[in-house]
């Protein structure tokens, strides 16, 4: 990662900008949402591999900053939703795509299934992903 940041610094013009945009694990919220209401049904479980990835990325940027390759200009968090048609689909997706990084506990699975089954006809199941956007300036 640090080598990649060194390369990015090399190919950027003087005063060039680096945008670091990525999700940050933080026990993301699971919700059942319809046009009428949003109901939180639990939080995801953060797994060690995902947390280690976040740490490694933070360390790489800290190294780039201490090497005076970049200076941090701004940082913000915002929500980004992944949204599925049903409770089954979110379980499938997490199992197939995110299984090393996050999981759903039995209680959250059950609460989500129930809320979706009893919810409005237009109910969808979603995860509120915590996103970090940091703007860096080449030094």
């Amino acid at each position: 990662m640090v080598h990649a940041l060194s390369e990015i610094q090399r190919v950027l013009t003087p005063d060039g900008i680096l945008i670091d945009l990525r999700p940050i694990l933080d026990h993301w919220h699971v919700e059942v949402a319809s046009a009428r209401e949003v109901r939180e049904t639990g939080r995801v479980q953060d797994f060690p591999m995902g947390l280690a990835d976040d740490e490694a990325a933070n360390r790489a940027m800290a190294t780039a900053e201490s090497n005076r390759w970049f200076k941090r200009e701004s940082e913000e968090f915002f929500p980004l939703y992944y949204s599925w048609d049903s409770a089954n689909e979110i379980e499938e997706w997490i199992h197939d795509e995110w299984e090393n990084f996050i999981g759903l506990g039995d209680e959250t699975k059950q609460a989500t299934r129930s809320a979706w089954a009893l919810g409005d006809g237009d109910s969808r199941v979603r995860v509120r992903v915590k996103m970090l956007l940091t703007r860096w300036r080449k030094i």
Binding site: R10, V11, G16, I17, I19, P79, Y81
Partner: protein
């Protein structure tokens, strides 16, 4: 399975609030199938999408809007060895890839 990713467009909104892409030369590292790139590339003067996943780049090439044919290009290079001269880009975007 029907998955909607960021139906509210929060990512695009925050990205454009953070940086002005107008007439800039942009390098996106980890562009994947180009989902994020399509949100800003039309404003740039040139956008290069980099990813080590050749299958993803193939999809990105197919999905690239015709109006961006001359503006958006792809490279299967590794981020650790960028095949570009120094000081080539005004903006670099690390897209879910650090």
């Amino acid at each position: 399975m029907t998955l909607f990713k960021d139906p509210e467009g929060n990512e695009k909104k925050h990205l454009h609030r953070s940086v002005n892409f107008n007439s800039k030369r942009v390098l996106e590292i980890g562009c994947g199938e180009g989902r994020l790139m399509w949100q800003y590339a039309s404003a740039s003067s040139l956008t290069i999408g980099l990813d080590s996943d050749k299958n993803a780049l193939r999809v990105a090439s197919i999905d690239r809007p015709t109006k961006l044919d001359n503006k958006v290009h792809f490279s299967a290079a590794q981020a650790e060895y960028l095949p570009f001269r120094k000081e080539t880009f005004d903006i670099a975007v690390l897209a879910w890839s650090l």
